[in-house]
């Protein structure tokens, strides 16, 4: 089953994203890919397919979509209001999108990045070995009204599964490890950094987000100039005015500002999902502990498929109960789990 998903209306921040491209740092291209990699893994688990397939990332708000054939879809990441032909559908779940039906996805209720996955993945053209748009590098473009995306062959059949989502959409504590230039900051500054409650600034995007606070900026000891060095996603660089700036998937590949620490990769979704104004605190943890967290998270993600459970429907909240029976027979197959 292959088909086409057409975008009837697009929010301002829709792009095709996958796990990003590796091997091009040497040429100045950062990995890029989904801002929330956990959401990619969750979508793959819900559809029972590989996490390397491309999905649509929706920054802050979704859009309106229609397919020319029956498609399996999954919705993950920042929870958004979603409906198929007017009937509300659950977030962090898989559904059947019948041919010709209208899928409407609204604004994020919390968090920043929502994801629309399809069975078989989107077949956007590959550049440097990946399908993800990397706007900062000039690869790909934001999706717009009228765009038609090809969908790859889908061998799966199951829909109507839900997955309890890790709550990572309201900020909170983000763990960091010391990195290249952490020791350039005096201990007192590192302590103050941990004690400060930051707010995610409004200027954030896929390249990075400023972390604002009411206190003074953070300073290194003396006016050190550091030679430009490699940047990795999660690096927290401190710019000239002392504001920490967390670099995300689409950052530059090198930087000369000192970095106070690096966000542990498994906590990066929490940071990337924090919407403007949301409170975030940073905690240093030892490298050994971070390594264990990462290994455990990799195992947990491998087991996500086993965590998917059939959606339970409560007839008292199904105001449109009849519509379920009136749509094609296919939808009744997995949806009738009561």
């Amino acid at each position: 089953m292959t088909g086409t998903l057409t975008i009837l209306r697009a929010g301002p921040g829709l792009t095709v994203q996958d796990g990003g491209r590796t091997g091009w740092l040497e040429y100045g291209v950062s990995r890029g890919g989904a801002a929330d990699r956990l959401a990619l893994a969750e979508g793959a688990a819900l559809l029972g397919q590989g996490a390397d397939l491309a999905a649509i990332e929706m920054a802050g708000m979704g859009g309106e979509f229609q397919a020319d054939t029956d498609l399996r879809i999954a919705l993950t990441g920042a929870p958004m209001r979603a409906s198929i032909d007017g009937a509300a559908v659950a977030w962090n779940a898989s559904h059947l999108l019948p041919a010709g039906a209208r899928l409407i996805i609204g604004a994020a209720r919390s968090g920043s990045y929502g994801y629309l996955h399809v069975g078989g993945g989107f077949q956007a053209p590959e550049h440097l070995g990946a399908r993800s748009a990397h706007l900062a590098a000039g690869i790909g473009a934001p999706l717009a009204e009228g765009d038609a995306l090809e969908v790859g062959p889908d061998s799966g059949r199951t829909t109507g599964l839900g997955l309890v989502s890790e709550d990572r959409f309201e900020g909170g504590i983000v763990r960091v490890v010391a990195s290249l230039q952490t020791t350039l900051f005096p201990d007192a500054e590192l302590k103050r950094f941990e004690q400060t409650t930051f707010r995610r600034g409004a200027r954030g995007n896929r390249m990075g987000v400023p972390m604002e606070s009411d206190g003074e900026g953070f300073r290194t000891e003396g006016a050190r100039s550091v030679v430009s060095e490699v940047i990795v996603p999660g690096d927290i660089q401190v710019t000239g005015d002392g504001t920490p700036y967390v670099l995300l998937a689409e950052s530059q590949t090198t930087g000369g500002y000192p970095r106070i620490g690096t966000v542990v990769p498994c906590d990066l979704p929490r940071l990337a999902q924090a919407a403007a104004g949301v409170a975030v605190q940073f905690r240093f943890i030892p490298l050994d502990e971070a390594v264990e967290l990462e290994r455990a998270e990799a195992e947990r993600r491998k087991g996500l498929r086993g965590q998917c459970v059939p959606l339970i429907r409560d007839p008292r909240t199904m105001t449109n109960l009849l519509s379920y029976q009136l749509i094609s027979g296919a939808i009744a197959r997995e949806e009738d789990v009561l």
């Binding site: 040429y27 000039g138 290249l180 060095e229 990795v232 590949t253 090198t254 930087g255």
Partner: protein, 248 residues
């Protein structure tokens, strides 16, 4: 004292984030440290150890990202130390398959408005500055920050001029900018503290081309002076009139 420390610098291995390591050959840019970084990166790529996901080099360092499920920090550090001990990396030659690029550039005029400011900082007249910049053969020391964007050096000592503290809000693609004895040829429009002394029509990154990146670390570049009219004529060519010859 700082200079003395640089002279005697030994490679330093540090962690980068949770799954990366960096081997640095100096705390500031020098020709031997840059050669060492390029050569060590090439050696790492050749070793292709299981679990290594990506290697790259910056001005004075080589970076390794690895899969925590297949390698651990202690083992990787031991391997890096072992490889470091195999030779004097500071004495390494330049990468293979290097090329000399000649790239047409307009110096000064309204296309590159900071030439007068840069010349003054370097203690030269504008004519002297153009003669100096267009005769220099500079080498790609690293590619970074943005796709295909080279850091080129080393320029004569007179060009050891600081970056501006006040950023230029937008320098265009193809801009040639100078500071700290280096040139940067910009691959995307961006804010910068480097001084805009020249303008080219070259596209350094073409995602759809068979060879998406024009330059490689180790390549040499000379910027030949052309008039604004000549540059206008070169804009139809995606290479902007850039021509390469192989270096032995």
């Amino acid at each position: 004292m700082v200079a003395a420390r640089v002279e005697t610098s030994v490679p330093e291995i540090r962690t980068v984030g949770v799954d990366g390591m960096l081997v640095s050959f100096g705390s500031r840019l020098s020709e031997p440290a840059n050669r060492a970084a390029l050569a060590f990166r090439a050696a790492l790529a050749k070793e292709s150890w299981d679990g290594v996901e990506e290697v790259s080099s910056s001005l004075v360092s080589a970076y390794v990202r690895f899969d925590l499920r297949h390698l651990n920090h202690a083992d990787l550090r031991a391997r890096l130390e072992n490889l470091l001990a195999q030779r004097d990396w500071y004495a390494a030659g330049l990468p293979d398959k290097r090329r000399l690029w000649r790239i047409p550039a307009v110096f000064g005029t309204d296309l590159a408005p900071q030439l007068p400011q840069a010349a003054e900082a370097a203690g030269m007249t504008e004519a002297e500055a153009v003669a100096s910049l267009s005769s220099a053969r500079v080498r790609v020391q690293t590619i970074g920050f943005a796709p295909g964007q080279p850091y080129l050096g080393e320029l004569p000592e007179a060009w050891d001029i600081p970056r501006q503290s006040q950023l230029t809000s937008r320098i265009p693609e193809g801009a040639l900018a100078v500071a700290i004895r280096q040139l940067v040829l910009f691959s995307v429009a961006t804010p910068t503290g480097w001084m805009h002394a020249g303008q080219t029509a070259v596209r350094l990154f073409r995602p759809d081309a068979e060879e998406p990146f024009l330059l490689r670390p180790g390549d040499e570049v000379q910027f030949t002076s052309v008039t604004p009219e000549e540059l206008q004529g070169l804009r139809r060519d995606p290479l902007g009139g850039a021509k390469a010859e192989d270096l032995a």
